[in-house]
């Protein structure tokens, strides 16, 4: 996967549009899901996903092969998503604008109500985690990235990732128990 990704990035740097299309196909689903769960807004997640690929296109020639493509892609996504959150907070301060509507997701009709309830509760609880804890948890549990990779993406040490994940799981567990007790 890594070698294949590296070849794609090198081809993109050489102006190969087909390689870019392949990289988009390979990453857009994972990136969109991470951004959707992190930003909790479909429109913002789509915009940022598009922006991530634009940056990749622009910066492919400067990609340093000593790093992993996957880490690089998620680092760009995380930085852009943080900017989006900062922008939103500023907008809230000035009362400029209301964030986009929540999104409905496709679910298995067999256990629709149960799943919807779990989704809602969990999504709410995830939203209450600090941004860096939420990002670390999503990258680890949903995208199965290593602590080393998460550290590179978040710009923190491996030990900090361990601490972030422990606190995220502790807090999430507490929030879900609190919700269940209602």
């Amino acid at each position: 996967m890594d070698d294949a990704d590296l070849e794609l990035v090198q081809a993109i740097a050489g102006g190969d549009h087909l390689a870019f299309k392949r990289l988009v196909e390979r990453y857009h689903g994972r990136l969109f899901n991470f951004l959707y769960r992190y930003l909790r807004d479909r429109q913002a997640a789509e915009d940022v996903t598009q922006e991530v690929f634009l940056r990749i296109y622009q910066a492919a020639s400067r990609f340093q092969a000593r790093g992993r493509v996957r880490t690089w892609v998620f680092t760009i996504a995380y930085n852009l998503a943080m900017n989006e959150l900062k922008r939103r907070r500023r907008r809230r301060v000035f009362g400029f604008l209301v964030a986009g509507g929540r999104d409905s997701v496709a679910v298995n009709p067999l256990d629709l109500s149960e799943r919807l309830e779990l989704e809602e509760t969990l999504t709410k609880a995830l939203a209450q985690l600090p941004d860096n804890q939420r990002a670390a948890l999503l990258l680890r549990v949903r995208d199965e990235l290593s602590y080393q990779e998460i550290g590179e993406i978040l710009g923190v040490s491996r030990a900090s990732v361990e601490s972030l994940l422990f606190r995220a799981r502790e807090r999430l567990r507490r929030l879900l128990r609190k919700e269940a007790a209602r």
């Binding site: 857009h28 689903g29 634009l54 400067r62 604008l97 948890l137 999503l138 290593s146 994940l165």
Partner: protein, 138 residues
Amino acid sequence: MRCHEVKVRLSAYLDRELDSVLERLLRDHLDGCVSCREDLASFQALDAKVQALTHVRMDAEFAEGLTVKVCKDFFGADRSLLGRTGLFGRLTSTVEVLFDLLEAAGSPRTRTLDEFADFPPLSMGYVYCRLLGLCRGD
């Protein structure tokens, strides 16, 4: 190892991110400690719930056109900042850019992306203006 030492490492144990010595110590402790085993089980259950969150699909049309959109944006045919258009969007963007520029050094956690490392600092103002479509005659 004592319970309080084990509990703070359970998350890393679950992720198989401990070194082999520590992992063995934790495993030994878990063999004989119900409370820590329960904690581990609750973390596992929590992870399973997060994993089970629906895989959200990007709008099919948007996904299909993503490559085209990015290429179009890259070559500057129709560049509006994150799809925002109209006077209100521009005004919002301008104020945001102003705040970005006024923000002192930013958060210590904020890093410069490698892909911007070779940009002269003052050129960022120009880049912002390009993004907002404020540059004329180029």
